[in-house]
């Protein structure tokens, strides 16, 4: 199938499903849930580029999510800026921090890299908690303005859904293009063998830094959207556990699989919601799922589902 045709079909279907859901779903609760799936997908697909394709692990990705939310939050609450004006600031801030932090950290390899990102994530979270005057401290920053264009409110209901999923679809498109390009090949090469990639001329340090910044900017976008939809942010949403959940979404969904991010994000967003019924047992079930999927489906659910499908086709 020619790529253009395939793209039209796939993205057309994607847009169609989102549009249909937004127009037909009447419950604000389920609309918001679907919007959250979108936010997490945005986070997961960026992290997947870093972890799945380039092979670098980050245990502090929630920090960039938080940076996007807090930079925009502080500018709108303390300085009264319009949220749209703060969007480039939030993205730039996250990108700049990712650049500065990435320079020394990405030189590390293996477990050291994981630990470096973990340390960075913890420090950012502590900053959110301690700089009370700016961030509101542990109890959070309330009163963020909603997103509006003229008289249209984009922070509620179907409009929010369309905005977020619009960003997700754009992100998917961009990521697919990157993966199938010279840069994407270079990133994948780094994953398979960093020293061979260098030996054939890939500037591995720059490539890793570039994808790290890219993932951070996507996360900051998600943070911005989250902040102005919930209009309240607190450090607890951007802690180590949040970073772990993001890693889990990528790993469980399937590494190096853009659509796997969708699966992983959906699963791990909808699951806790479903588990709220068992509110006491939420952690137990969540922990069990993480363990069981990783023990038995280490390639990620997406890949395993694909394999099952292919095996079923043969029969």
């Amino acid at each position: 199938m020619k790529p253009i045709l395939r793209n039209i079909l796939v993205y057309g279907a994607f847009i169609g499903v989102v549009a249909a859901y937004g127009l037909l779903q009447k419950s604000t609760y389920y609309l918001q849930l679907a919007t959250f799936v979108g936010l997490n997908t945005l986070l997961a697909v960026g992290l997947n580029m870093l972890m799945g394709y380039a092979g670098q692990i980050s245990l502090g990705h929630a920090a960039f999510y938080g940076l996007g939310a807090y930079v925009s939050g502080m500018l709108t609450v303390h300085l009264g800026w319009s949220p749209w004006l703060t969007l480039p600031c939030a993205l730039l801030a996250a990108g700049a921090v990712a650049f500065v932090v990435g320079l020394p950290t990405l030189r590390l390899t293996g477990y050291y890299l994981a630990m470096g990102t973990l340390g960075f994530g913890m420090i950012v979270n502590i900053l959110f908690r301690e700089f009370r005057r700016f961030t509101g401290g542990p109890s959070g920053l309330p009163g963020l303005p909603e997103l509006t264009i003229g008289s249209i409110n984009l922070s509620h209901g179907a409009n929010a859904l369309f905005l977020v999923w619009g960003c997700v679809i754009a992100a998917f498109f961009i990521c697919e293009r990157i993966v199938n390009s010279r840069m994407g090949r270079a990133l994948r090469a780094i994953h398979y063998s960093e020293r061979a990639a260098a030996a054939v001329g890939v500037d591995t340090a720059s490539a890793k830094l570039a994808v790290f910044v890219f993932a951070a900017v996507l996360a900051a976008l998600a943070g911005f959207l989250y902040a102005h939809m919930i209009t309240f942010i607190s450090p607890g949403s951007f802690n180590f556990l949040a970073s772990v959940k993001l890693v889990a979404m990528v790993v469980i969904g399937g590494m190096a699989s853009i659509w796997g991010s969708l699966l992983g994000a959906s699963l791990l967003t909808l699951l806790p919601d479903f588990l709220h019924i068992f509110s006491e047992y939420e952690m137990i079930v969540y922990g069990l799922i993480l363990m069981l999927v990783m023990i038995f489906f280490p390639e990620g659910l997406f890949r395993n589902l694909v394999k099952l499908y292919e095996r079923a086709k043969k029969r």
């Binding site: 477990y111 890299l113 470096g116 340390g119 502590i126 469980i252 952690m283 363990m291 023990i295 280490p298």
Partner: protein, 291 residues
């Protein structure tokens, strides 16, 4: 000047805790190349089990102590059997998620069993604080320091003088060679998990009297203990001790002389510092080549 000693004592006490938690991380990593993100939960379980056995059920302290440590050790064995041995693809990233998931699971279990309210425990001995150089040293701190030092010496003896200990060291250095020499490497892995978990449990037991014990306490302790292990050199037992005390004292001094909001940040700042400057840690650890 007395504040300096106060900070020092506080730093030494916390340092000892970090040291023993770090020791659990380090020796497990040395033996199995695995970083157990659920280690903090073993600390938490040790503390909560002690609280149940001793003040609540009224068992004599030494018995409660031993039972709590044994229980966490056994839990370590169960963990290894169920969650680690069964893994189809033991890649580091997969194992990281598994241990993190295990940590969350254990936290959830603890919440069900012990609820959300924090529990206290009385100190091991009812002596009043000792005055030293114008500062006060809690009796419990003396217990902590003493037990940690005794444990470290016992571990050193174990590794250097006993056959099992030497076998475990051999596995840590080169698993293939060790197994060719007839060492049951799978047994050694199991033992490493048991000992590591027991060390975590012991850490919990000895801090129970001076902390608010509840299901979330393991999270930050585990992370800080890990930072201490990295500081001293991951995989190096003495490094864990050095790292633990270094972190404890640095933390206490930062809180005392700079600001208390810095407390948690110190551990992670030191972690980043050591990673950038000397990833193998102060004393040099086992080379981390995986991933």
């Amino acid at each position: 000047m007395p504040e300096f000693y106060q900070y020092l004592f506080s730093g030494l006490t916390n340092g000892a805790i970090y040291a023993i938690i770090a020791l659990g991380f380090s020796m497990l990593f040395a033996a199995t190349d695995l970083i157990n993100f659920a280690h903090g939960e073993f600390v938490m379980l040790g503390a909560l089990i002690l609280v149940t056995l001793w003040p609540v059920m009224g068992l004599p302290l030494p018995l409660a102590f031993v039972l709590a440590v044994l229980a966490t050790g056994i839990l370590g064995i169960v963990f290894e059997r169920l969650a680690i041995r069964t893994v189809k693809k033991p890649e580091p990233i997969v194992l990281v998620i598994i241990t993190v998931g295990a940590g969350i699971f254990l936290r959830g279990v603890a919440m069900i069993i012990w609820g959300k309210t924090a529990k206290g425990a009385p100190p091991f001995s009812s002596m009043p604080p000792i005055e030293l150089a114008g500062a006060y040293l809690l009796a419990q701190s003396v217990w902590i320091l003493g037990i940690v030092l005794a444990t470290v010496l016992a571990m050193h003896f174990f590794y250097k003088k006993t056959l099992t200990g030497k076998a475990m060291s051999a596995c840590a250095i080169n698993k293939r060679a060790a197994s060719l020499l007839g060492i049951a490497t799978q047994m050694m892995t199991l033992l490493a998990f048991a000992v590591s978990a027991a060390l975590g449990g012991m850490a919990g037991v000895i801090i129970a009297p001076i902390t608010m014990n509840e299901y979330e306490m393991g999270a930050i302790l585990g992370l800080k203990g890990f930072c201490a292990a990295m500081l001293g050199g991951l995989g190096n037992s003495w490094g864990a001790v050095v790292g633990g005390f270094a972190l404890g004292i640095a933390e206490a001094m930062a809180v005392g002389y700079v600001s208390s909001s810095m407390k948690d940040a110190v551990a992670f700042l030191l972690l980043l510092l050591i990673l950038y400057v000397r990833p193998t840690g102060i004393l040099g650890g086992k080379a981390v080549t995986r991933f």
